[in-house]
């Protein structure tokens, strides 16, 4: 049985947010919606270290959907719109979701997002608010994103470029690519090569081998959600690649 998972190596993450941007474009996310977030741990602003000199720390933590094995969002969904596919992907059926947002309440990782309005409206508003007079994405015009609708084998709509209003969406591990045997966009788009995607049940896969060799942790493990996204903790970097502000060199 295939069971997909991901490793994010925090030693390699440079906090560039390329994953978030490529994810946003490829999955055609409306303004204000981000399936992938990258923040600097402990800081109010990204890329600003925390602490006081010389004890500074700057760890970047990317957060996709964890595709939890024991997913609270799947448990609470009253209509089974969110479900876990056999290969471990937790998906949302846009045609089934009633928009109750119980799953947003249940997800401990804050990855689920709601379509508060029509995407066309949202784009228009987004352009206006960021100072563009004209609406660059007038109705019917080209919009960014993977162009085709994607359905699972049993016919459930899990990706569509024009989102229906009033349903929940979230990271799908790029189901439209995974079903074609291609890795998720964030894995391919990461310039630091920080991510590994693959089959956790196959002992020969790169992800399984890496998990065997390296100490990895998962977020909020104490909640029993059994996330399938693993993190390799950042090692303390001393005198390597850093800038030293001492008086003498």
């Amino acid at each position: 049985m295939v069971r997909y998972g991901m490793i994010i190596d925090l030693n390699r993450c440079i906090g560039c947010r390329s994953c978030a941007v490529v994810c946003k474009i490829v999955n055609s996310q409306p303004p204000g919606t981000w399936w992938q977030r990258v923040e600097t741990v402990g800081s109010n602003e990204h890329m600003v270290p925390v602490g006081e000199y010389p004890n500074l720390s700057e760890v970047f933590l990317p957060i996709p959907c964890m595709h939890c094995e024991n997913a609270p969002c799947v448990d609470v969904c009253p209509v089974g719109a969110t479900w876990q596919r056999e290969d471990g992907l937790v998906l949302v059926d846009f045609e089934r979701c009633i928009g109750c947002r119980y799953c947003i309440t249940a997800c401990p990782y804050g990855v689920r997002q709601f379509n508060w309005q029509d995407p066309d409206e949202n784009f228009k508003q987004g352009f206006e608010r960021s100072g563009f007079e004209e609406n660059w994405f007038a109705e019917g015009d080209y919009k960014y994103g993977y162009p085709k609708d994607h359905r699972t084998d049993d016919g459930r709509l899990v990706y569509t470029k024009t989102r229906p209003r009033g349903v929940v969406e979230k990271c799908t591990f790029c189901v439209q690519f995974v079903d074609q045997g291609i890795a998720p966009a964030c894995v391919r788009g990461c310039p630091g090569n920080a991510r590994i995607f693959g089959d956790l049940d196959d002992p020969g896969s790169e992800i399984s081998k890496t998990l065997k060799d390296r100490a990895a942790f998962r977020l909020l493990e104490e909640l029993g959600t059994e996330p399938k996204v693993f993190y390799i903790p950042p090692a303390r970097k001393e005198g390597r690649g850093g800038v030293r502000y001492g008086e003498k060199i």
């Binding site: 303004p31 204000g32 919606t33 981000w34 977030r37 923040e39 741990v41 402990g42 925390v50 602490g51 006081e52 004890n55 720390s57 933590l61 957060i63 609270p72 448990d75 609470v76 969904c77 009253p78 209509v79 089974g80 719109a81 089934r96 979701c97 009633i98 928009g99 109750c100 947002r101 119980y102 947003i104 309440t105 249940a106 997800c107 401990p108 990782y109 804050g110 689920r112 997002q113 709601f114 379509n115 508060w116 309005q117 029509d118 409206e121 949202n122 508003q125 987004g126 608010r129 960021s130 100072g131 229906p164 209003r165 009033g166 349903v167 929940v168 977020l219 909020l220 909640l223 029993g224």
Partner: protein, 421 residues
């Protein structure tokens, strides 16, 4: 009653229509018209849903107390009580509609129910409860309906059976009593279930320490037994007034409400104590959030509940005392329900411990709000770790509208049905 009644109905009708218009507007534009966003995904609609579930309790608990435990004092007001149970159960279900993004799909809960989720169960017990209390009301009123009929507007009367002999009427009375007795043991468990299941919807959420835990369901029951009888007092006062023979009834209801309010406060502060004793952790932080940001709501809750307890315990034999006390406890419970929401959301579940040289703290991972806010020169962040929720105008219009609608229907039914002696 005539002029005043018409005026009240007129105002309620206008408010209800505004609410309906607001709902249609929200249905067209989406929930963007509310002030809920991704980090704060449930708001006043869900608080009102929990409130109505609570107020729906009184009715059936009262009427079944008569038939199961033989509390005879409550008998005269039983039909009013079960009718209020019906109205508020329906109100709770209506309250869900504006909250969901796709109200036209709400029936999916029945076609594709997920048994692990508690929402379909809640919907199920609420609908059964609504049907049961409607049937219960009818059964109790059956003899009177046969005698006097249901009076429709414009002076028409239906279902009146004028040709019944006194013997037949007596027969009907006995039958109605027997049926009511049989229904009571079925209805009472559902009266309890609606609160427990509603509480479980929230209390099972491990990611929300403000709700999570075993104490939420008992506090929901206590809140229901506070608000329910108080609502029945108000409804009976409207219908019967403070009649001499009803005084023991009001007294009993006032006592039940006051006592439950005491129990509620006890459980609440018991929970507060345990949370604060730990001095750290998510449960403690949730409490600190209440004390820091929502102290005013908590103050309303505590002050009104305590005032209500005192008034109901002392002044249960005057109209003003009963009205003031019942309204006070209901305001207190309303604030209690509202306070369910903000501390649950503003404590973001994904918190990363940051340990620095001299300090350590839990850092909340920000959540994308779902829209672009601000302007080019004054942009507002897309990722936030705190959401200052205040219900929007549309949310208020819908909330008030639902209340006006159910009050309208309640008053209309009170006039139509032969509930009076």
């Amino acid at each position: 009653m005539g002029r005043k009644y018409d005026l009240a109905m007129g105002i309620l009708a206008v408010l209800a229509l505004i609410g309906v218009a607001a709902f249609i507007y929200q249905f067209q534009k989406g929930l963007i018209l509310t002030n809920m966003r991704n980090p704060f995904s449930w708001g006043i609609y869900i608080a009102m849903w929990a409130f109505y579930v609570g107020t729906a309790a009184g009715g059936l608990v009262v009427s079944s107390a008569i038939n199961i435990f033989g509390v005879k004092q409550l008998k005269p007001i039983a039909p009013v009580a079960s009718l209020s149970a019906f109205i508020f159960a329906v109100a709770a279900m209506i309250m869900i509609l504006p909250d969901i993004g796709r109200p036209e799909r709400v029936f999916y809960m029945f076609i594709y129910p997920n048994p692990k989720s508690l929402l379909p169960w809640d919907f199920l017990v609420l609908s059964v409860y609504a049907v049961l209390s409607a049937v219960y009301t009818y059964v109790q009123l059956q003899p009177k309906i046969a005698e006097r009929g249901i009076s429709l507007p414009f002076g028409k009367t239906i279902m009146k059976k004028g040709d019944l002999t006194p013997a037949e009427l007596e027969n009907l009375r006995v039958k109605s009593e027997r049926r009511a007795k049989a229904l009571a043991p079925i209805a009472l468990p559902f009266a309890i279930l609606i609160h427990t299941v509603t509480a479980w919807v929230l209390a099972t959420q491990l990611s929300r320490p403000w709700w999570y835990g075993g104490l939420l369901a008992p506090t929901f029951i206590a809140a229901a037994l506070t608000a329910g009888p108080a609502v029945v007092i108000l409804a009976s006062l409207v219908v019967y007034g403070l009649r001499e023979d009803l005084k023991p009834t009001y007294r009993l209801l006032a006592k039940v409400s006051a006592f439950s309010a005491v129990a509620l406060l006890f459980m609440y502060y018991n929970d507060f104590f345990i949370r604060q004793w730990w001095d750290a952790g998510r449960e403690y932080d949730a409490l600190m959030l209440v004390l820091r940001d929502y102290l005013h709501i908590h103050a309303v809750e505590a002050v009104f509940l305590i005032a209500g307890i005192v008034i109901l315990a002392k002044k249960y034999d005057t109209v003003s005392g009963l009205v003031a006390g019942s309204i006070a406890v209901n305001v207190g419970i309303l604030a209690h329900r509202y306070l369910l929401i903000p501390p649950a959301y503003n404590l973001i579940p994904l918190r990363v411990p940051v340990v620095m040289a001299g300090e350590s703290f839990e850092w909340q991972y920000p959540i994308a709000v779902g829209e672009v806010r601000g302007t080019l020169l004054n942009p507002e962040p897309v990722f936030v770790s705190y959401w200052n929720y205040i219900p929007s105008a549309v949310e208020m219009a819908i909330t008030v509208g639902v209340f006006a609608l159910i009050s309208f229907v309640f008053l209309a039914l009170m006039k139509a049905l032969p509930v009076r002696e």
